[in-house]
Amino acid sequence: MPSSKAEVLQGTLDLIVLKTLDTLGPLHGYGIAQRIQQVSEDLLHLNQGTLYPALLRLEQRGWITSKWGVSDNNRKAKFYSLTKSGRKQLAAEAESWERMAALIGRLLASAEGT
């Protein structure tokens, strides 16, 4: 059952997915999972299945759209791409994330100083 940990993960996951689609363009679920794995250099362990409810959520919010297509290895797959409002959302989330990261960074630095 989802706990408070999942909530933190959820927001993070949204940002990661949006950013991935922004960088790489339309991509299927497997591709997104691979990209996350690759970028995080396996530091972030993700149950790849949790990606799909997250994708659905982003789609329901209108931030991404999906279309059936054929993958590189000739498989039927759903391709997700960023919408205009998704791009806006990404910018907003990235900004708030950076602000938060900077805040946490300052907080930790000052804590070390004392």
């Binding site: 299927h28 679920g29 497997y30 999972a33 691979q34 149950n47 790849q48 299945g49 949790t50 799909y52 409810p53 659905l56 959520r57 329901q60 919010r61 209108g62 993958s71 290895n73 498989r75 039927k76 797959a77 759903k78």
Partner: protein, 880 residues
């Protein structure tokens, strides 16, 4: 915005679920396949590759579950699931389902029917578009206003968009066919615009048409136009004679429009200068639309202020006048309608509660047999709330099904109600012709269904879901008894049902009995052999008392000479009517009251000598009126026993003298020459009141009715009597020609209907209570089959078992009676104060109703108990 879109995409995904599930399957499968292939490419064996892919992916079913929860509306899906499951459970128990649905259908259907009636009578009695903004300004309770006052109000009141006035007057229509008497209304020119309606054809009255001396015009009601003029539109611009005056038809109203109820012809209120200045005679009903934003309360305050200025200016006439501003809908309600409708609404609500208690009880019983299923669900992780929700959904499903069936029942009830009401009553009763199941009835039915579903389901759901899974599973497989709490709740429900049924039946019994007594008292008049007819002598042609007397003498001679007519009489009011009595003050010689307020009053009637014989009213002392009591002979009167007893207790009334009117009246002293038996003229007064009979020649103005008594069916005299009257005055229609039996029936039919409905509701309550007792008994016997088997194996006699099995039911009945009988006696007093024709203490009812109920309950106990008695010990024990 976003939330709404998410809701709709989610809602949409509830449909085409299978395709969406398949899509998800494909998507997840292709992901896993790609992962596996990658692993193989990295050098894993196919098996390892697949397992590693699964691990990296996480739980496939969990993913799907989470995905589905995101995709649809879990709440709705669970609801649909609950409904589907509930429906399956209901189908599995057809007996339970049928009884529950029927119970609710009766309960809700009766409510829907009565609601539709009450909604029409109380809230929408006339179909006017702006009814909720229309208000009446009345004097006292509902009395009309003086003409001069009306013009002052109209000039000063700011709360209304305008004030219009009307007064009803019966009108004789002549020319173009038979003379006919119709309902008329004299209205101000702004009457139609104030009511917010226009004629369907032609025009309304224009300003100035209500000035005295203008060319008379008239607007026809739809009914009269159809009946008399064959709905011919060319009648517009034609002229008809109204009370002998040529009037041009300028408009024809819509079919639905009937205000004031009833009206066939509207004519302008043409007032003379003398009438306009009249502040004493009160004849005008005043109404208007409130200005936007003005409440009844504000209008009331303003009118009170205006009236206090008038009272200061004209103390002689206006000193004690109190104005009342009320909604028009309230104004047009019959005076008895509100009391009776409220009574029925209360009773029918109680019947629904009883039905809900019954369904709750049935659900308790069923929950006991479903314990293992519920325990299993709980053991598998269903929360208490989840189980309770499932049970509540089932209850709501039952009530919605019951509501659907109830509509048929309600339609049947309304059909019976409307179709059996005499047309004459329908015409006079504001709203009666509009009673139907409409949108509001459907909304009401739905709300009633939801409320009763929750009422009937909430306790069973809470109690059943309380169950401890471990305990229940341990006992599962064996017939188990319900918990003590549940047993107690069920007992309380049934006790309440029995008590309420007793109260309702007793109430209905009292009403029905009271009504039958009243209706039966009419037999004394042998009303089947009496034909009554009414005439209204227009003041224009019968101005002098002598003219009127001359007419009546001729009419009585003409009627009495009809072959087969035994006697003919003229009189003012027939027995058991609910209008036509005229209450007047009188003075007793030697004891003249100090003022009007302390004067005794009586119903003053004017009768021809034959009246007493024709109506079979015995004269118990003195003599009957005679032909010798003429306009110029000694003034005399006959009083009834009640008046004689009240005014001259212990003395003979004959020879005493009375005078009509207030203490300062200058009328002659009347010598009492006879005492007549008491007659209940106005049934709304419950018991016969003081009555004074004046001889027709000495009071010819108060007469309006004629009657003949015949040996054969008087209905065959209708044409002949009309013809005799027409022979005397061709422009004078005889109306309301009917047998006295029919006239009495029509005046009391509303009461009879109410009582009939009460009886039906009482019987529904009885049936529901009996089903309730039976349900509890059958269930308790079923649960104890094993126990009875053991007892019988140990030597208990069938009689002992019968007693054991029926004891619970009989105790319940006894408790119900212990509560119900005193409650019924208390309610009877209340009832007698609220409505007419109910006698508060009637031993027959208070013995008969408990006997009837006791018998029904005993049967309901006996049938299951007999089954217990016949239990074969071997079978019962093996049944384990």
């Amino acid at each position: 915005m976003n939330g709404l879109r998410i809701f709709f995409t989610r809602l949409r995904s509830l449909f085409g679920k299978r395709r969406l599930d398949a899509d998800l399957d494909i998507e997840l499968r292709s992901h896993l396949d790609a992962l596996t292939e990658d692993n193989i490419r990295h050098g894993m064996s196919p098996d390892d590759a697949r397992h590693s892919a699964r691990r990296a992916f996480g739980g496939i079913e969990q993913t799907k579950e989470a995905y589905r929860d995101r995709r649809g509306l879990p709440f709705l899906e669970t609801l649909a699931q609950d409904v589907r499951f509930g429906a399956r459970m209901l189908i599995k128990n057809p007996g339970f389902t049928l009884v529950a649905i029927l119970t609710l259908a009766l309960g809700i259907g009766a409510n829907t029917a009565i609601f539709s009636v009450a909604d029409t009578f109380l809230l929408h009695p006339i179909p006017l578009p702006g009814l909720d903004r229309l208000a009446v300004v009345a004097v006292g309770q509902k009395a009309p206003a003086a003409v001069a006052d009306f013009f002052d109000w109209r000039a000063q009141a700011q709360s209304f968009q305008g004030l219009a006035a009307f007064r009803s007057r019966d009108i004789n229509v002549t020319g173009k066919g038979e003379p006919e008497r119709v309902y008329g209304a004299e209205v101000t020119a702004d009457f139609f615009s104030s009511a917010g309606v226009l004629p369907a054809l032609g025009r309304g009255f224009v300003a100035g048409e209500d000035q005295f001396g203008r060319d008379p015009v008239a607007i026809l009601g739809h009914g009269l136009w159809q009946r008399r003029f064959a709905a011919n539109p060319a009648m517009l611009g034609e002229s008809i004679e109204i009370d002998g005056q040529k009037s041009t038809i300028v408009g024809i109203m819509d079919r639905e429009f009937d205000f004031p109820v009833p009206t066939d012809v509207w004519i302008p209120l043409a007032l003379t200068q003398r009438e306009i200045a009249d502040r004493a005679g009160m004849s005008l009903h005043v109404f208007g639309a409130l200005k936007p934003g003005i409440s009844i309360g504000r209008a009331q305050a303003e009118m009170t202020a205006i009236e206090s200025r008038l009272a200061a200016a004209y103390p002689a006439t206006n000193k004690d006048r109190v104005l009342r501003v009320m909604p028009l809908a309230e104004f047009v309600q019959g005076s008895l309608t509100r009391a009776y409708t409220t009574l029925l609404l209360c009773v029918v609500g109680i019947v629904l509660l009883v039905a809900c208690a019954n369904v709750a009880n049935l659900q308790f019983a069923r929950a006991t047999s479903r314990r293992s299923e519920i325990a299993l669900r709980a053991a598998l992780g269903a929360s208490r709330w989840r189980i309770a929700r499932q049970l509540l959904t089932e209850s709501l499903l039952l009530s919605v099904l019951g509501a659907a069936a109830s509509l048929a029942f309600a339609k049947l009830c309304l059909g019976l109600l409307v179709s059996n009401m005499p047309a004459y009553v329908v015409r006079l009763w504001a709203g009666f012709s509009h009673i139907r199941l409409d949108g509001r009835s459907f909304v009401f039915t739905f709300v009633a269904a939801v409320v009763s579903g929750i009422l009937a389901g909430v306790l069973p759901a809470m109690e059943t879901s309380r169950l401890d899974a471990g305990d229940a599973l341990k006992e599962s497989g064996r017939g188990t008894t319900a918990g003590r709490r549940v047993q107690r709740l069920r007992n309380i429900f049934v006790v309440a049902q029995v008590a309420v049924a007793l109260v309702l039946l007793a109430g209905a019994g009292l009403l029905v009995k009271g009504f039958h007594q009243m209706a039966g008292s009419a037999d004394a008049f042998a009303p089947e052999q009496v034909l009554t007819l009414a005439v209204d002598l227009p003041a224009s042609r019968y101005a002098e008392p002598a003219d009127r007397l001359a007419f009546y003498r001729k009419a009585l001679d003409a009627l009495a000479s009809l072959p087969g007519a035994r006697s003919a009489a003229a009189f003012s009011c027939y027995p058991l009517s609910n209008n036509g009595t005229s209450w007047e003050f009188f003075q007793v010689e030697g004891r003249v009251a100090p003022d009007q307020r302390h004067s005794p009053w009586a119903d003053a009637q004017s009768v021809s000598p034959e009246y007493f014989r024709l109506m079979r009213v015995p004269i118990v002392a003195g003599r009957v009126l005679a032909e010798a009591d003429r306009e110029d002979s000694q003034p005399v009167a006959i009083v009834n026993q009640k008046l004689a007893r009240l005014q001259w207790p212990g003395e003979s009334a004959v020879g005493k003298r009375i005078r009509m009117g207030a203490p300062d009246s200058s009328g002659p002293w009347l010598t009492v020459v006879g005492v007549a038996a008491d007659v209940l003229y106005d049934w709304t007064s419950r018991v016969p009141q003081s009555t004074i009979y004046l001889p027709l020649p000495q009071a010819p103005n108060a007469v309006s009715l004629l009657a003949i008594r015949t040996d054969v069916d008087p209905a065959s005299y209708v044409q002949a009597t009309r013809a005799r009257i027409a022979a005397i005055d061709p422009n004078l229609p005889a109306f309301d020609v009917k047998t006295l039996a029919l006239a009495i029936h029509e005046s009391t039919v509303g009461l009879g209907y109410t009582d009939g409905m009460m009886a039906v509701l009482g019987l529904i309550a009885l049936a529901v209570a009996v089903v309730g007792v039976y349900g509890v008994m059958a269930n308790s016997v079923g649960e104890r089959t094993h126990e009875f088997g053991v007892r019988m194996a140990l030597g208990a006699q069938p009689r002992d078992v019968l007693w054991l099995a029926s004891r619970r039911g009989l105790l319940i009945a006894a408790a119900g009676f212990a509560i119900g009988v005193p409650a019924a006696i208390a309610c009877a007093r209340l009832l007698a104060a609220l409505v007419y024709g109910a006698s508060p203490s009637d031993p027959a009812t208070f013995i008969g109703v408990p006997l009837l109920l006791g018998f029904a309950v005993s049967v309901a106990c006996y049938i299951p108990a007999r089954r217990a008695m016949r239990v074969d010990p071997l079978v019962a024990l093996r049944y384990e």
